[in-house]
Subunit: 644 residues, 2 copies
């Protein structure tokens, strides 16, 4: 089987430079003349000269009367100067032209009428309250330089000085071609079956391109066939675009034909960048146009787009490359990394006290939820071997900074009720965004300890006392003043396929050959519960097939059972119900929100407490199935157990 | 004449709150279902639930072979485990589904083939290099909460989990009606004559609205006639918009009908806000829709739009209000302000050393160039009476922060050659934006002294020594290590109307009755030159009509003469030539760029020095007329004078 060999991986900056050096933007991206009213966001191709002055006359800056300043110089309080209409003064409104010879305006508030005449009690300084000719714009002056992205303000200035048409660079046009045998075309609204994937990268990249000021066109998907790819690529190349992107097929796999396709019609400049995700990115030049091979994994495709295609296309269009606001972020968890690669890590970020705290989201290049859930992204430099927990890093904001102040980062155990809470928090007049990092109950407590979160979800059962959470708080977070507010009681048990075909009745069956288990990650309350039951039943974890297969959420456990990848996993009833699976109850447990008392007054925490106290919240939770809400919203105390 | 009485001015926040309280957004802004591929930038009306999981199968995360992990546990270096194709392993590419029963992937780089079989020398951990079912998205989970502005990333996630349509709030639609007797309709591409103004606010506000995510429609202008305004307003109100804006006519002038128009069809909630510019803003509710009376001055209209209309319309559409990045800026000049008003001041900002330094641009509410030239805007709170020079303020960025690092703030004397320099600097591969603050030569030196600028333009003539600039540097900036680089020699003189109708032959004529002078501001090199010649001729400034009429640029002086508002002003030949005026030479002078030696290595300064050394620059300067370039680009020394 033929496989591609990577070129040596090169840094992103070098890759961008190679592409720029190989492209002749002067020839590639032309200039067009358009109406100024349509020019917002376009880039000027020439300096723009004012055709008319603004103002074109001396005008009143205030409502009042226009006068000759000299005629008022003798005016004093108690010794007014009388002015006659027409000869000495004229009423003017803001913006009116001053009559010839008049060179000052007295504000109407200071005008006392006596019949037709007026009595002025203070001198008017020359040019007071007058907008003078040319004080703003003078004809023949340069209004805008070239290579300037036109703003709405610029549109106003241009029209006001008589510029109605403007020479701008063409908008950079990009064709995006999704490739692959296994993908389904989203425009057909397919219903994916087992093993099938709905292709979405192409549309995501189109939308990304448009948001960056380019113009993008998504072409129909092409299978992993060299001839079909060549035909589609050449067709796009021959059209009026400036760049063509092949999505997927850029790696070293046997079906990766992007490189050979690009090489067929031009020259491959870059195959491989020292960045993760995004490594197998390809840049080339074909017939004077930019060619890009974007990796198939969504996050990799995004990095390829944002770090390679975007700066090159901005340069083509003579626009400054987009830059995001950066903020200092304290890392709540260590981020490992490899030497020699720049690693892009997306973060959930919220404000805790005076600091922004960041929780790294997953690194998987295929994890679309890291793209949708992240508030920021940081880069670990190539010369670093990871970053320790607690360190400050600079992160690029993916949302507006105001958003962060409205973002509540919840760390800890995942529960489906958090989705309900998140939805109701967004409905408020002052919406709060709930960003969740699912690291398990113990991970949540650790985050509280290090000051990395305002609240943590936890459902840790202590068999010795029969109590929930408090024994763990006392042991692991001694000295911290914490409260526990109940979110719900929930039913935990074994999730099995409908009809329970493997006949699982309890923990003992899990050691049977042919029964495949799917576990939760270490530190999850559900894992702790399961291990407790294993021990109680005298079952050795080594006898349980799949004990090492760890998932991070109830839903992931459930879907493993649903698809037959596993026969059984421990999880909450609502997860089983959601996927129409059977459920064998094992225990009821208390899921609490652990909150440092010092943060109880935080408006975001107040919002959470308000929401979970409502009847609506309880009703929606109850409707999920497998929850009881009699303790919901109440502050717990040590020893309360299930409150019965 | 009837004039409006203002309501009591209220703070911006209270004005926004009043409007929100009076609007029923639930009824006003509806929900529509659109295709996900068109949903970027729209706001979700409901939480969005995943229809399919992603991935829907265990898939290979790397190219390689899929195996049963357990079958490899005995593998050791030197004691390999042999696996047979089909039975024990299968080749997989990234993204391929793992065959049933297989639960690990060995990377292709680690696979050694021996004929058809492979020899594995290290055990594969279960689930290594496997993308597991549901690790990203699981069906029934919430992908997006409600009231979320959809990003390109979200579009990708939605399509990948089978969501093809989405319920979003309507885009908020705004009708914008320009009003006024004196305005000209830009869509007709008019050529304004004396006293006429091309109306441009309406288009600027339309473009602003679109850039904020709203939809805006500009309607034809309506004259200052109550019946015509009522008809246009009611017609817009009856259309399918959510808000109607009347532009101009919101003050207390006799032609200000916005308030009465709005009152006629609904209720005026706000007339007057405690902000400057923007004070005479009006908010109302008419037939359940938002009504806005925007002031006629461009900067006032912008403040009304950004501080009142925008937050209310964002709230209508359930979107978070737009917020800009803020940066700390050191004020180079004091900003006076009045108690009781929030004052918005636009700033030219550049980086000087480690700090951002800001120069306040003009305060005039009609100054469109403050809108086009500002990099940031700051607010002086209502309880402040100005801000002292040197103080740090927080300013909202109007450009991207990278832009500031590429912005060179030039303070001092204005010259038309700066436009040429600005244009050539933008043409570079690494463009430099030249932001100029015209405060005159002395103002420029003051800015250098306070560390507020990297370079200053100066042409100060010292009659005692016959030298330029250095005597002033020695006197006012002793101890600073500065260099002077010549930009050009230029011809100064009296600018008069074509044919010199008033027969002005020299300074003495300026004292003649009927001759109106237009002066330059104190501190300008041209003003100093003029005062020198007055003194030399023994003419008392008090005898010169118009001596107190001060303009800030050569072009402003020239346009006063062109329009007949003055008969004569002192300025450079190129300004006279630009407006086809006559010119009486008085002196040649040296216009230098004064630069602290410490900044000579700054890349932006280096760019300036490179540009002014080119033949192209000298040729373009020479073409303006009235310049000599034999010293251009050369470093000056004390005593050089004109270099002859």
């Amino acid at each position: 089987m033929k496989r591609n060999i990577y070129l040596k991986m090169i840094p992103l900056e070098e890759a961008v430079a190679r592409a720029k050096n190989a492209l002749d933007r002067q020839s590639l991206v032309g200039v067009e003349t358009i109406a100024v009213e349509r020019a917002t966001g376009r880039v000027t191709a020439e300096p723009v000269i004012a055709r008319y002055s603004s103002p074109t006359f001396h005008g009143a800056a205030m409502d009042g009367i226009a006068v000759r300043a000299a005629s008022t110089f003798a005016a004093r309080e108690g010794a007014p100067v009388r002015l006659a209409p027409g000869r000495d003064f004229a009423f003017v409104n803001t913006g009116n032209r001053l009559p010839d010879g008049m060179d000052a305006v007295i504000m109407i508030e200071n005008v006392v009428m006596d019949g037709d005449t007026t009595a002025i009690e203070a001198p008017a300084a020359p040019w007071s309250h007058v907008r003078r000719i040319g004080e703003d714009i003078v004809a023949t002056e340069m209004i805008l330089p070239r290579h300037r992205r036109i703003t709405p303000y610029d549109v106003g200035a241009l029209l006001s000085c008589g510029v109605y048409d403007i020479a701008v660079y063409e908008t950079v046009r990009i064709a995006i071609i999704p490739t692959g045998d296994e993908i389904m075309d989203f425009t057909l609204r397919p219903e994916p079956g087992p093993g099938q994937v709905v292709e979405s990268n192409s549309m995501m990249l189109c939308a990304l391109a448009e948001s960056l000021g380019f113009s993008a066109r998504r072409l129909p998907p092409v299978p992993d066939d060299p001839e079909a790819l060549a035909a589609a690529f050449e067709s796009a190349l021959s059209s009026d675009v400036h760049a063509v992107v092949l999505v997927a097929g850029s790696s070293a796999g046997s079906k990766d034909f992007s490189r050979s396709t690009i090489a067929r019609f031009g020259e491959v400049l870059v195959h491989g960048v020292s960045a993760m995700p995004g490594k197998p990115s390809i840049l080339g030049v074909c017939r004077g146009k930019l060619a890009v091979g974007a990796p198939g994994y969504p996050v990799s495709a995004v990095v390829c787009f944002e770090e390679l295609l975007s700066p090159v296309c901005a340069w083509l269009g003579r626009a400054a490359p987009t830059c995001r606001q950066t903020i200092p972020v304290r890392l709540a968890r260590a981020m490992p990394s490899r030497l020699g690669l720049v690693e892009f890590v997306r973060l959930a970020v919220g404000r805790v006290g005076e600091t922004y705290v960041g929780l790294p989201l997953g690194r998987g290049a295929g994890m679309m939820t890291t793209l949708t859930k992240a508030q920021a992204v940081t880069r670990i430099p190539a010369d670093a071997e990871g970053v320790e927990a607690g360190k400050m890093v600079r992160a690029e904001l993916l949302v507006e900074s105001d958003d962060l102040d409205r973002t509540l980062v919840a760390v800890g155990s995942h529960d489906n009720t958090l989705d309900i809470l998140a939805d109701m928090l967004m409905r408020q007049d002052e919406p709060v965004r709930l960003a969740s990092s699912h690291v398990g109950s113990m991970g949540g407590l650790t985050a509280l300890k290090s000051g990395a979160a305002l609240l943590a979800g936890s459902h840790l059962f202590d068999p010795e006392t029969g109590d929930f959470n408090f024994p763990f708080l006392a042991k692991h977070l001694p000295g911290m003043d914490l409260v526990a507010v109940n979110l719900a009681l929930r039913h935990q048990g074994f999730i099995v396929a409908p009809g329970n075909p493997k006949g699982i009745r309890g923990v003992a069956e899990l050691a049977r050959p042919g029964v495949r288990f799917v576990n939760r990650q270490k530190g999850a309350g559900t894992r702790i519960l399961f291990d407790h039951h294993l021990r109680a039943a005298g079952v050795d974890p080594g006898q349980v097939a799949g004990y090492g297969h760890e998932e991070f959420t109830h839903m992931a456990v459930a879907v493993n059972v649903q698809t037959g990848a596993a026969d059984c996993g421990m999880g909450v009833y609502s997860a089983a119900k959601a996927l129409s699976l059977d459920f064998l109850p094992v225990a009821r447990e208390r899921y609490d929100l652990i909150i440092p008392r010092a943060y109880l007054d935080d408006p975001k925490i107040q919002a959470v407490l308000a929401v979970i106290g409502t009847d609506e919240f309880k009703a929606r939770v109850a409707a999920l199935g497998g929850y009881e809400t009699q303790l919901t919203g109440r502050f717990m105390a040590p020893g309360m157990g299930l409150g019965e």
